[in-house]
C-alpha cells in the first residue's frame, strides 16, 4: 500500500502467509525504499483461549492442553505445569522421575534447536541446512514416540512424576543418537555456522544493547548473545540441574550471528547434559501415589515457577482456590516481550530482507503469545 500523503512510504505486511515468518503472526512494515521506518506486530491468528479453558478443568483435564501452548517445544510447558501443581499441593517426586524429566527436557531442547536451525538457515535461502536439520530432528522425535507414544505433543511429564517408565534399551538408543548428533555438529559448523553466506548476512545485524536487554526483561539467547550468563538452570536450579556439570555459552557481539553461535554451543551442552543423565540414571519409582484425579484439590494459594526452554526463561503463574479446578494459570514465555517490545524496536532501520533473519534469531513463537 502506498501512502498518498507521503508518496515515499510503502506499507507491507510480512506474514502471516510468508515462509520467513516464525508462525501465525505478521509484522506491518512502513518502508522507504527497502529500509524499515516503523514495525508493528500483529497477532490473533491462533488464539485458542487455553487459559480460559483451563479454568473449567481439573488437573488431569488441563494437563492435556498445556503441551499445545508452544508447538515447537511442548515439554517446558508440561514441566512448568507439573512443578506448579506439585508446589501448590506439596508433592515431592522421586529421584528417577527428576532424571527422566531432565532427559525429556534436554531432548526437547535439542529438537527445538534443530528446528530453529532449519528456520534460521531457510530465512537466508540455505535450504540444504534446513532439510538436514529437520531430518536429524526426526531422529529425536522417534525417541519421543517410543518413550511417550507421541512425536510432537508428549503429555508425559505429569504432576507426581512421569507417565511411563523407560522402554528396554532406551538409554542405549539415546547414547547412540548423541554420538551421531555430535558428529553431525561438525558438518553443521561447515555448512551453516562457518558458511560465508550466513556470516556475511548475520554479523552486525540485529544488534541488541546489553543494558537495555536486562532492563526490558529479554531472556535466553538474546541475553546470552550480549555476554550475560543468564540461564534458569544455573540461576534458580530446578529438578537435578544443580548436580550436573555444564557451561552457559555466551557471546559478546549481541547480533544475529552471536545468537546463532550461542545456540550452536547450547546444542553441545545439551548433549553433554544428556550424557551425564544417561550415565547417572537411578533406579526406582517413576510416579508417586496421587489422589484420584476427581478428588485432587489445589489449596487456595498461588505460585510462580519457571524453567529454561530452548528460547529462554519460560514461566507459569498458577493459583488454586481449594477446589478441583485451577483458578488461574498464566503463561509467560519469551515471545510476548521479544515479539513486541524488542522486535518492533529492532526492525527500525533494518533492511526488508533481514526481517526473517532477525525474527528467527529472537525465538518468537506466536502460539505462546496468544495461548
Amino acid at each position: 500500500m502506498i501512502k498518498m500523503e507521503t508518496p515515499k512510504h510503502i506499507t507491507i505486511f510480512h506474514g502471516p502467509q510468508h515462509p520467513g515468518i516464525t508462525g501465525n503472526m505478521s509484522v506491518e512494515l512502513d518502508l522507504i525504499g527497502e529500509t524499515i521506518q516503523k514495525a508493528t506486530t500483529h497477532v490473533g491468528y491462533l488464539h485458542r483461549g487455553f487459559e480460559k479453558l483451563i479454568e473449567r478443568r481439573t488437573v488431569i483435564q488441563a494437563f492435556t492442553i498445556v503441551c499445545r501452548i508452544c508447538v515447537p517445544e511442548p515439554d517446558p510447558n508440561e514441566a512448568n505445569f507439573a512443578m506448579a501443581v506439585e508446589e501448590l499441593a506439596g508433592i515431592k517426586i522421586t529421584e528417577r522421575a527428576k532424571y527422566i524429566r531432565v532427559m525429556v527436557l534436554e531432548l526437547s531442547r535439542l529438537s527445538a534447536q534443530f528446528l530453529w536451525m532449519a528456520g534460521q538457515s531457510g530465512s537466508i535461502g540455505l535450504y540444504a541446512v534446513g532439510q538436514w536439520a529437520i531430518a536429524d530432528r526426526d531422529l529425536i522425535l522417534d525417541l519421543f514416540e517410543e518413550l511417550t507414544g507421541g512425536r510432537v505433543y508428549h503429555m508425559y511429564v505429569y504432576p507426581g512424576g512421569v507417565r511411563r517408565d523407560l522402554p528396554n534399551g532406551f538409554l542405549d538408543k539415546v547414547t547412540d543418537l548423541l554420538i551421531y548428533l555430535k558428529e553431525r555438529m561438525n558438518l553443521y559448523n561447515d555448512i551453516f555456522i562457518n558458511n560465508a553466506s550466513f556470516k556475511n548476512r548475520a554479523i552486525g545485524v540485529g544488534i541488541i544493547d546489553k543494558e537495555e536487554a536486562v532492563a526490558n526483561g529479554y531472556v535466553g539467547q538474546v541475553l546470552r548473545g550480549c555476554g550475560i550468563k543468564a540461564d534458569v538452570r544455573k540461576d534458580a536450579p530446578y529438578l537435578i540441574y544443580d548436580e550436573l556439570n555444564f557451561e552457559i555459552p555466551t557471546q559478546k557481539a549481541g547480533d544475529v550471528y552471536a545468537r546463532a553461535l550461542v545456540r550452536r554451543d547450547e546444542i553441545l551442552q545439551s548433549i553433554n547434559i544428556l550424557e551425564q543423565v544417561v550415565s547417572k540414571m537411578p533406579k526406582g519409582d517413576i510416579m508417586i501415589k496421587m489422589p484420584t484425579h476427581r478428588k485432587f484439590k489445589l489449596p487456595k494459594d498461588d505460585t510462580w515457577v519457571k524453567v529454561e526452554s530452548a528460547r529462554g526463561e519460560f514461566a507459569y503463574y498458577m493459583a488454586g482456590d481449594g477446589t478441583e479446578k485451577i483458578r488461574r494459570m498464566q503463561v509467560k514465555g519469551p515471545s510476548l516481550i521479544h515479539g513486541f517490545t524488542l522486535l518492533e524496536d529492532l526492525l527500525i532501520g533494518a533492511e526488508l530482507s533481514d526481517v526473517a533473519l532477525i525474527m528467527n534469531s529472537l525465538g518468537i513463537c506466536p502460539p505462546e503469545i496468544e495461548r
Binding site: 497477532v43 490473533g44 488464539h47 483461549g49 487459559e51 480460559k52 479453558l53 479454568e55 473449567r56 508446589e87 536486562v214 532492563a215 526490558n216 526483561g217 543468564a230 534458569v232 540461576d235 534458580a236 498461588d302 505460585t303 510462580w304 519457571k306 526463561e313 514461566a315 503463574y317 493459583a319 483458578r327 488461574r328 498464566q330 509467560k332 510476548l336 516481550i337 513486541f340 517490545t341 503469545i369 496468544e370
Partner: protein, 188 residues
C-alpha cells in the same frame, strides 16, 4: 530487607515460598512505591510479568508484579488487590515491557491502565463481549449463544443410538440362534 518492607509498608503479608521466590501483598496505593524501593535499593531491576487472577467472590483482582534481581537468582512477587471495575496506573514509564503486558491484561480482564497509550486490541479481533478471562464470562454459554454447530455428513450417525441398535441386533441374533437350536433338539 523484609523487616524494612514490613515496617515501612505496614504489611504483615510477606511469604517466603522458595529459596528463590517470595511474595509480598501491599495496599494498591503503595504498590509502585514498593516496586521502586525494590528496584533502586535491592537490585530487582527486571519486570518479568504482570499476572492477574480474578477472585470474583471477594470482588477483587489479585494483580502481581513479578520482579527479578539483576543476578536473576531471586524473584519477588509483589501483589496488590484491586477492585474489579477500577482503573489502575500504568508502570510502563518505568518498565518498557509493561506496555504489552498491560495491553494483554486490558484485553483479557478489562483493566484500564491509566497512562498506557497503547491499550488497543491484541489477539481478539472486534471483541464486543465481556473480557473473556473475567469469571462472569461463561465459555459454554457464549458458545451456545453465538456459534452454530454443523450437523456433519448425511451418513453421520449418533454413536449412542448406533450402539443401542447394534446391541439389540446382536441380542436378537443370539435369541434366534438359541431358538433354532431348541427347535432342532425338539424335532430330533
Amino acid at each position: 530487607m523484609y523487616s524494612k518492607i514490613k515496617n515501612q509498608f505496614a504489611t504483615p503479608e510477606i511469604e517466603i515460598k522458595r529459596n528463590d521466590l517470595s511474595k509480598v501483598i501491599v495496599k494498591r496505593d503503595r504498590l509502585f512505591e514498593l516496586i521502586n524501593l525494590l528496584r533502586l535499593n535491592y537490585s530487582y531491576v527486571t519486570l518479568n510479568a504482570i499476572t492477574c487472577a480474578d477472585w470474583i467472590e471477594d470482588d477483587h483482582f489479585a494483580l502481581s508484579y513479578i520482579l527479578t534481581t539483576e543476578d536473576r537468582k531471586h524473584t519477588m512477587m509483589v501483589q496488590a488487590l484491586i477492585g474489579r471495575d477500577s482503573a489502575f496506573d500504568t508502570i510502563s514509564h518505568i518498565f518498557k515491557q509493561a506496555e504489552i503486558m498491560e495491553r494483554d491484561l486490558h484485553e483479557m480482564y478489562g483493566i484500564k491502565f491509566i497512562g498506557n497509550q497503547n491499550l488497543k486490541e491484541l489477539s481478539l479481533e472486534n471483541w464486543i463481549h465481556t473480557p473473556p478471562l473475567r469469571r462472569e464470562f461463561d465459555t459454554l454459554k457464549f458458545v451456545n449463544e453465538n456459534l452454530t454447530f454443523r450437523d456433519g455428513r448425511d451418513d453421520n450417525v449418533d454413536t449412542k443410538v448406533e450402539t443401542k441398535r447394534l446391541r439389540a441386533l446382536k441380542k436378537a441374533k443370539k435369541l434366534a440362534e438359541e431358538k433354532a437350536k431348541d427347535d432342532k433338539n425338539g424335532n430330533s
